[in-house]
Amino acid sequence: MGNRILALAWTLAERDLRARYAQSALGRFWNLAQPVAMALVLALIGHRMNQDFPASTWLAGWVLWNAFASSWILGSLSLAHNRELVTKTSLPPLAYPMSKALMAAVDGGIGLLLWVVVFLYQNLVLPPVGDVVVVIVCLALALLQGFGLGALTALPAARWKDWAVATPFLAQFAFLLSPLLAGGAGFLHTYTLWIPGWSAVHLYVQVDPIPGHTWMDWGTAATVGVFLALSGWFALHQLGKKASDWV
């Protein structure tokens, strides 16, 4: 069952990725160029704002936040935006937000390749294996948390259109408060690891005043991700068939 859902999710993600820039003159080049350009611009702006972090750190932070935010927002809207499929086919409801998380993973993977290039440009060496592992684990956490939140909010977004409209705004506000911009976040730092999306970025950019992270910190972020993903799975498993009546 799990494999089938994953295969279907990938089918939907592939459809959207192929269709995103299909028939445009530069075709799939845009799949690469669009997230790269966006991440690069934001990394440079961020670095100008706070030079404590090198551009590569800003870039990785942005890639992680973007992976979280897009898997959350698109996942949340995935049932409402696939009305035809939801009402006419028996695809498992979980496949819809999962497909958005997979799309975010592809964009995240492209972003990480860019991060390696920027790191190489800045330091004239490839990033240490430890850093690469940390970034990949953080990306996985961001996707897990984003997918969980998206799955959890997909049904409310299908039921209440206001919720669907408000979700992207919520994500923008969350970004403004995120540790990426808050750069230390003072009174918030104690709780940051419990906040979806923030924790992945937090773990990478190390805004915590205590250098380094304990296993407990990683465990907290992972717990949040697993909790959200399981909650989202449970909600769609139990109530997913309501979606065809609501969308």
Partner: protein, 367 residues
């Protein structure tokens, strides 16, 4: 375990509206079940519940076997993707594996007849080609239980026959259970061994096809002909008198738009009592009023000096467009009955067992 569907007291409510009301059944492999009923009777709701797309409000359901449902041809097609990409996409949505699709790709393309356009984006296909492509993928489904909702009447006449034959070959496999929802009673009569007749969400009758369909069609004749239900665009559609074969008849249509219709196109379709298409009527194809706008409350009349229909029951479908934008579409807009009468002055020599059209060709006798 033998594939089967069992459901007990299945009920579906949308707020205070009951779409399906305590419907029960037990269907097993080897059966072909037709589901009939008027629009809004609950046919599609039943299929959506059995497919697992929607959950019942109450009642129990047990499905054993690999189930595939086809509630609409081509759901999920993406216009920017090529025909080939859409075949893979749609096949997977329907539950086929990529390897299965790859194995059957040639058969799908042959069946759909789109070989030369396979790598063109779907947006360049005609609507008929899209339907053919969708059905061709669906026809490859190897499920134990197949649920079909109004998908056998798609495409042109040749493709409908091709689709029907394909379904017959699927039915020949006795290990399969097929449930067909259709207004095309001819299709149901030819394909199905049993029929479930739904009326306002309830089971009206379930039994052998001939018995149920005869009762279903008989009910139509016993009751007064259903009047046309005014819609947002059409205020009235009706004949000016009781219809008799060979006698004059006038069909009147009155629009009730707020504004004139700039580039109207009105199409009427005639269907026989089995829901089989018989003839089209349109002022545009008759060479009339092309490019001419219609007033907001236009009154249109279609007249026959001698109604060329045999005794029997028919219905008209109606489609009204403005500048190719669909304003109104009703498949069963006006059911009506034609009484027996003389079409040819020298007498009719055919016993009108079935509905049909009287044609008056020119005859010549040579030596």
């Amino acid at each position: 375990m033998t594939p089967h569907i069992a459901f007990d007291q299945l009920t579906k409510k949308f707020g205070s509206y009951t779409a399906l009301d305590a419907v029960s059944g037990h269907w097993t492999a080897g059966q072909a079940i037709g589901v009939v009923g008027a629009n809004g009777a609950g046919k599609s709701t039943l299929l959506r519940l059995l497919s697992g797309i929607s959950a019942p409000t109450s009642g129990r359901m047990d499905v054993q076997g690999r189930l595939a449902s086809l509630l609409e041809v081509g759901t999920g097609f993406h216009p920017e993707l090529t025909g080939r990409e859409n075949i893979y996409l749609y096949g997977q949505i329907l539950g086929l594996r990529r390897a299965e699709i790859r194995r059957q790709l040639d058969a799908v393309v042959d069946f759909a007849g789109v070989g030369s356009q396979l790598d063109l984006p779907l947006k360049h296909y005609s609507s008929g080609q899209k339907i053919r492509l969708g059905f061709s993928v669906a026809a490859q489904l190897q499920a134990d239980i197949l649920l079909l909702d109004e998908v056998l009447g798609v495409g042109d006449a040749a493709f409908q026959q091709q689709s029907f034959e394909r379904m017959q070959s699927l039915l020949a496999d006795e290990g399969r259970l097929v449930v067909v929802v259709s207004h095309h009673l001819g299709t149901i009569r030819r394909m199905c061994g049993s029929v479930l007749w739904l009326d306002h969400g309830r089971t009206k009758q379930f039994g052998p096809t001939a018995e149920v369909l005869d009762a279903y069609q008989g009910l139509d004749s016993a009751a007064a002909p259903a009047p046309f239900v005014p819609s947002s665009w059409v205020a009235h559609l009706g004949w000016d008198r009781p219809l008799v074969a060979g006698q004059p008849a006038v069909l009147e249509i009155r629009l009730k738009n707020e504004q004139p219709v700039a580039r109207p196109n009105l199409r009427l379709s005639l269907f026989n009592q089995n829901g089989e298409f018989m003839a089209p009527f349109s002022p545009v194809t008759s060479g009339l009023w092309a490019g001419q706008s219609w007033p907001a409350h236009a009154k249109i009349q279609m007249s026959f000096d001698r109604l060329p229909l045999m005794r029997g029951r028919y219905h008209l479908g109606l489609r009204l467009t403005d500048n190719d934008v669909e304003l109104e579409r009703t498949d069963v807009a006006l059911p009506f009955e034609v009484n027996e009468g003389l079409y040819f002055p020298h007498g009719d020599t055919f016993a009108p067992k079935h509905n049909g059209v009287w044609l008056a060709p020119t005859w010549e006798l040579g030596a």
